[in-house]
């Protein structure tokens, strides 16, 4: 059990927000907001973890240490805020937790995505794709 806890580490704010939304019977995010978050998480996870495993000729994780990372996330969140305030609020909480920083990491990616979220999001994306094909 301890080893699993060591392995999994801390969940991202995005995963916690989606879990909270599930517990609140989807009252936090609208359907389209949930889909947007999962689609973002699926795309980010695929690129980030492929890069980490050495399958891409770029080191995306390093960008999470850059001073431009919180700026980029803030700009994206500010742009989506009028249409999806819940997503903007999730991004704000992720940045606040990163600013403190609550986890041992000072890499913004560790606050926005995590492998469990990646598995869930990619699973959702594959399922959505399959449903679309066979609809």
């Amino acid at each position: 059990m301890m080893r699993i806890a060591t392995l999994l580490g801390a969940p991202s704010v995005t995963l916690l927000a989606l879990a909270l939304d599930l517990l609140a019977r989807h009252k936090l995010f609208s359907r389209s907001e949930r889909r947007a978050l999962l689609a973002f998480a699926a795309a980010a996870s695929l690129v980030l973890y492929s890069s980490t495993l050495g399958y891409l000729p770029l080191d995306l994780y390093r960008a999470g240490f850059s001073p431009w990372a919180p700026v980029a996330l803030a700009i994206a969140a500010i742009v989506v805020a009028p249409r999806s305030p819940a997503i903007a609020l999730t991004a704000l909480i992720a940045m606040a937790v990163y600013d403190i920083p609550v986890f041992r990491s000072v890499n913004l990616f560790d606050y926005v995505v995590d492998p469990i979220l990646g598995v869930v999001a990619v699973g959702w994306a594959v399922g959505a794709g399959v449903r679309r094909v066979f609809r």
């Binding site: 059990m1 301890m2 080893r3 806890a5 060591t6 392995l7 999994l8 580490g9 980030l48 973890y49 980490t52 495993l53 050495g54 399958y55 080191d59 994780y61 390093r62 999470g64 240490f65 850059s66 001073p67 431009w68 990372a69 919180p70 700026v71 996330l73 803030a74 969140a77 500010i78 805020a81 009028p82 305030p85 903007a88 609020l89 991004a91 704000l92 940045m95 606040a96 990163y98 600013d99 986890f103 041992r104 990491s105 000072v106 890499n107 913004l108 990616f109 560790d110 995505v113 995590d114 492998p115």
Partner: protein, 372 residues
């Protein structure tokens, strides 16, 4: 949500981004290496060796060494029944500067081990805050399922509980250490790390005094691992890499001219080996020395070479003609860990037949005489 609330979120986003960017900016500027001055010695040529006291284990491997502020040497290695066995511990032994005697090895990573399966590859780092021991903890399967931990000690005697350091976003798995850190003038260190989950790569992780990775720069891709960084000036350094493939290959090197922020493409050194660790250091005349297994088939030969213009002929520290595997005996002389001490001497510890740790000490006059 009402417009004023949305506006408030947007304002807070700007503030949060500013705080985060300012903190990250602190680490974004290139740092300068704290290059240790290499003492000149007037000693006559010196080459001596000894076996360190046994840790009482069947198997030992991957020794590390550091000089403490009072001049004592602190060595650490891992040992147990075999690699990745649950009974493996990390042992430390201290050499008294005045008597030259090594203390009885003591296990320091032997608590109830529920968080990892096994441990290995200790790396000692001495800085102004005391001693840090970075090591690998295997969580799942073999070495590719490992992660990096750190323990602290004010004196090399009393050790804190381990903390995991975050070096990878993917469950922090597949990350290992093996080589000494390069100190930066701002108090951070450049810790060479490498990745073995699926594909191999090497990186330099900049770690602050609290054990947080504040930047991480890729240095080399598959199959180069175990980078060994030798700073040569405040901005310049050269790194040597282990060729980690089944077929024999060459030790490769890369250079940086901006404190490790960017690394040059790899270049072959022409030093042939096969999947074995390399160690290097700088001499007082600016030339480099490297220690590696100069046998493309196995690890029965361990050599030291010197690079002025080009690499010298090797001097064999070990050259065992007997079979590499002979019943339970493994004739392997590997994983050299090399440091220069303030008195102008060089110390190397390495795995001796996987049952002992050997310590060899030499000085620059000996290197110049033996490796002209």
């Amino acid at each position: 949500m009402s417009r004023p609330r949305i506006l408030l979120i947007q304002v807070l986003l700007v503030g949060a981004a500013a705080v985060g960017a300012l903190r990250a900016h602190r680490w974004a500027a290139p740092a300068s290496f704290a290059v240790p001055s290499v003492a000149r010695t007037n000693e006559p040529p010196l080459l001596a060796s000894e076996l360190l006291p046994s840790s009482g284990t069947n198997f030992v491997h991957a020794a590390t060494l550091a000089e403490l502020p009072n001049g004592d040497l602190l060595a650490a290695w891992y040992g147990g029944t075999d690699e990745i066995d649950p009974d493996v511990n990390i042992f430390v032994s201290r050499q008294d500067r005045r008597t030259g005697r090594w203390s009885a090895p003591r296990a320091i990573e032997n608590g109830p081990r529920t968080h990892v399966k096994s441990v290995g590859n200790p790396v000692l780092v001495v800085d102004r805050d005391g001693v840090r021991l970075f090591y690998v903890g295997v969580i799942l399967g073999g070495w590719s399922g490992s992660t990096i931990f750190v323990k602290r000690s004010p004196d090399g005697e009393h050790w804190s509980t381990p903390r995991r350091i975050a070096t990878s976003p993917l469950l922090n798995l597949g990350m290992l250490v093996r080589s000494p850190a390069a100190a930066y003038n701002d108090g951070t260190i450049g810790l060479p790390i490498y990745h073995e989950l699926r594909r191999k790569w090497s990186a330099l992780a900049r770690v602050d005094g609290q054990g947080r990775v504040v930047d991480e720069v890729r240095m080399a891709d598959n199959p180069f691992i175990q980078p060994w960084v030798v700073p040569t000036s405040a901005r310049d350094a050269i790194a040597f890499f282990r060729w980690s493939a089944r077929a024999p290959g060459f030790v490769n090197s890369a250079t940086t001219a901006d404190g490790g922020v960017r690394w040059s493409p790899l270049a072959s050194t022409g030093l042939e080996h096969r999947d074995s660790a390399v160690a290097a250091a700088r001499l007082d005349d600016g030339s480099l020395i490297a220690i590696f297994n100069n046998s493309p088939g196995d690890r029965r030969k361990l050599a030291i070479v010197r690079k002025g213009g080009r690499w010298s002929k090797p001097f064999q520290i070990e050259n065992d003609p007997r079979p590499a595997f002979d019943g339970p005996t493994r004739r392997e002389y590997s994983y050299p860990f090399l440091i220069a001490t303030r008195d102008g001497r060089y110390h190397v510890v390495y795995t001796w037949q996987r049952t002992k740790i050997k310590h060899v000490v030499f000085n620059a006059p000996w290197v110049r005489a033996a490796l002209p």
